[in-house]
């Protein structure tokens, strides 16, 4: 008799558990999106379809400023993180196994392992003294902090891409008169391109979404979109928060879809 692989789908009740899990995951989000079109002032009472909260959010200067700030930080931080991650990935994959390899991986991926609140408090203390010493209070603190925790998210897809690349392609380029820079420019970079774009988008989304570190690092009047929303929750909750959340969700879904399309294997 042929042995059959264990199939989770044959367990009684599998479909029910799966159904509940998906419901728990998506029902709240769908509710959020639905209520963003609510005409009522109350957050959980349906008062008919309307786009008024989107209009309100759009017209709100605080939201505008926070959005602009969020995008500035996310663009800058993901760009810095992607450059660092690309170099880190090249440095850790374009060679044989080396001493301390695992240690280096752990070092690079530190933000994935250290609790975010610990990093946040640490940054608060460090930046506080830097602020006093330099007198500078700008967005750079947030950009640096975001870049730091975005690096592993950019690093992982880039490294995966590089590890899947045939090393003999670079040897072949060198054989065909390409100097090291030409080899990088014409072979390595185009081949790792999808990994770099995926890493950058992931970093962008992670930065856009961050609350904890931002809350600790930001100076007065430096609210990003998530910290602005958090601040709103402490006062009066209006469906405006739903509208902003839905817009953020749409942007994230768009980016993640692009991420998926870029990283999946092409035949």
């Amino acid at each position: 008799m042929a042995t059959r692989a264990f199939a989770a789908t044959t367990i009684p009740g599998f479909a029910i558990v799966a159904g509940i899990a998906f419901f728990a995951l998506y029902a709240p989000i769908l509710t959020l999106v639905a209520y963003s079109f609510n005409d009522s002032n109350a957050i959980s009472q349906w008062g008919g379809f309307s786009l008024r909260w989107y209009e309100a959010a759009w017209a709100n200067t605080a939201v505008q400023e926070a959005t602009l700030r969020s995008l500035t930080i996310a663009c800058s931080a993901s760009a810095i993180a992607t450059v660092c991650a690309t170099m880190a990935a090249l440095g850790t994959t374009r060679r044989g196994a080396f001493r301390g390899q695992t240690f280096i991986y752990v070092m690079i991926n530190q933000p994935l392992m250290v609790p975010e609140i610990v990093t946040a408090v640490a940054l608060l203390i460090v930046f506080a003294s830097v602020k006093v010493a330099t007198g500078y209070n700008g967005l750079m603190y947030l950009i640096i902090a975001h870049a730091a925790f975005c690096i592993p998210f950019a690093y992982l897809p880039i490294r995966a891409r590089l590890e899947g690349m045939d090393l003999s392609l670079e040897t072949a380029a060198a054989d065909l008169y390409a100097n090291p820079w030409q080899t990088f420019r014409h072979v390595t970079l185009p081949l790792m391109g999808p990994g770099i774009i995926a890493g950058a988008m992931l970093a962008f989304v992670i930065s856009l979404d961050d609350v904890v570190i931002t809350e600790f690092v930001k100076s007065a009047g430096q609210d990003t979109l998530p910290t602005y929303m958090l601040g709103q929750l402490r006062r009066a909750i209006t469906p405006e928060v739903n509208a902003i959340s839905s817009a953020l969700l749409a942007l994230t879904v768009l980016l993640l879809t692009a991420f998926f399309l870029l990283t999946r294997k092409r035949d």
């Binding site: 392609l169 072949a172 054989d175 065909l176 081949l191």
Partner: protein
């Protein structure tokens, strides 16, 4: 043809015949490549010196791990020798990186650039050399015509079959008109029929371009049929360099004799121009130290069967007959039990009425038996 037996061992000779000098395209001088450090170091190449002539099809033949690919990588510049030199057209290129060597490689895995089209792949070398765009495109088109793939120029390489990828790899390596083309077991990934086709194709390309080919293989048949000269390698050393006929008929030592074709090895004793074997004497060429223990090497097709008591023959007993179609292999034992295989034409062996247990006489084709000192 060089007539000096075994002189090709160190491949010193630079003459293709009396008075004719040929130029040397590539030369390795005392090349050593060691991997690892200290006592754990492995000598992949152990003091190898070889001269490869201008315009020849030279094959490095040997079992896997013998150092043939390492030697190729030293010539390409992918590895630097631990000691020794690599010369190209008499110029020391040991320190030059691969991109400064007018030498191109056809990789075993082809290593085609997946993000480029077939034509871009073929033009890559010229593009990197900074040639004008029009020239690159023109030359790429010409090379694709040469390998009969001009109709696929705009395809991505992933859309090609194995044989087509092989041709692209060839065209790409030939496009910059290298002084030497290196081929690292390029046919090993192809099936038998395609391999035979590509063997002919490679010979044709070599003939048409006149470029020196250095071909690495572990397939002795491939080496014999394609090469002008073969260098047989084992354990990091070159054991013998010579034409396929030289190597086959006059192997320098036991390894070469056993690696290329089938050979009977018979222990004997050399004295007075002949080797004493169980049950008789075999006359051989002079040149061996008087009174030494030797091994006599004889190819199965050079063993003839005669009547049991024919004068000058070695008495033997038939053990087994193995039918191969055109040939039949007759396994026999000499009086001391050592085994000899004779390759007979099937029609002949059928008529002779041979059967296991029959007593026969053995004669070796004159001059065919080689004395190996080991």
């Amino acid at each position: 043809m060089d007539r000096s037996r075994n002189a090709s061992l160190t491949s010193d000779e630079t003459t293709a015949g009396p008075g004719v000098t040929v130029s040397i395209a590539v030369e390795a001088r005392n090349a050593v490549k060691a991997f690892g450090q200290g006592e754990a170091a492995v000598r992949a190449l152990d003091d190898v010196s070889v001269q490869i002539r201008q315009g020849e099809f030279f094959t490095l033949l040997g079992p896997s791990g013998c150092g043939k690919t390492t030697l190729l990588r030293l010539i390409a510049g992918f590895e630097t020798p631990t000691s020794g030199q690599i010369l190209l057209d008499g110029k020391d290129i040991t320190a030059d990186p691969p991109n400064r060597r007018p030498v191109n490689t056809v990789f075993q895995s082809y290593a085609l650039f997946p993000h480029l089209t077939v034509a871009q792949n073929v033009g890559f070398g010229l593009q990197m050399q900074g040639r004008p765009r029009a020239e690159v495109a023109d030359r790429a088109a010409k090379m694709l015509t040469l390998v009969r793939l001009d109709h696929l120029a705009q395809r991505k390489t992933s859309q090609l079959s194995g044989g087509q990828q092989q041709r692209v790899a060839l065209a790409r390596a030939l496009a910059p008109q290298p002084k030497v083309l290196l081929l690292d077991e390029p046919l090993s990934a192809l099936d038998l029929k395609l391999r035979k086709e590509m063997q002919i194709e490679l010979k044709r390309l070599q003939h048409e371009t006149g470029i020196t080919f250095v071909f690495v293989t572990h397939d002795q048949e491939e080496a014999l049929t394609m090469s002008d000269r073969i260098g047989v390698m084992s354990a990091g050393k070159i054991l013998q360099v010579g034409s396929p006929r030289d190597i086959y008929t006059r192997p320098a030592n036991r390894f070469v004799a056993s690696f290329i074709g089938e050979t009977n090895f018979l222990p004997g004793f050399y004295a007075h121009g002949q080797v004493a074997l169980a049950g008789g004497h075999v006359p051989v060429a002079a040149g061996t130290k008087e009174g030494s223990t030797v091994t006599l090497a004889v190819r199965p097709e050079q063993v003839r069967l005669v009547a049991a008591d024919a004068p000058g023959s070695l008495p033997a007993t038939v053990r087994d007959l193995v039918y191969f179609g055109t040939d039949t292999h007759c396994h026999m034992a000499l009086s001391d039990g050592s085994e000899v295989v004779a390759r007979l034409q099937s029609s002949v062996s059928g008529e002779a009425g041979l059967e296991p247990g029959a007593r026969v006489g053995l004669v070796f084709t004159e001059g065919a038996a080689q004395v190996l000192e080991d």
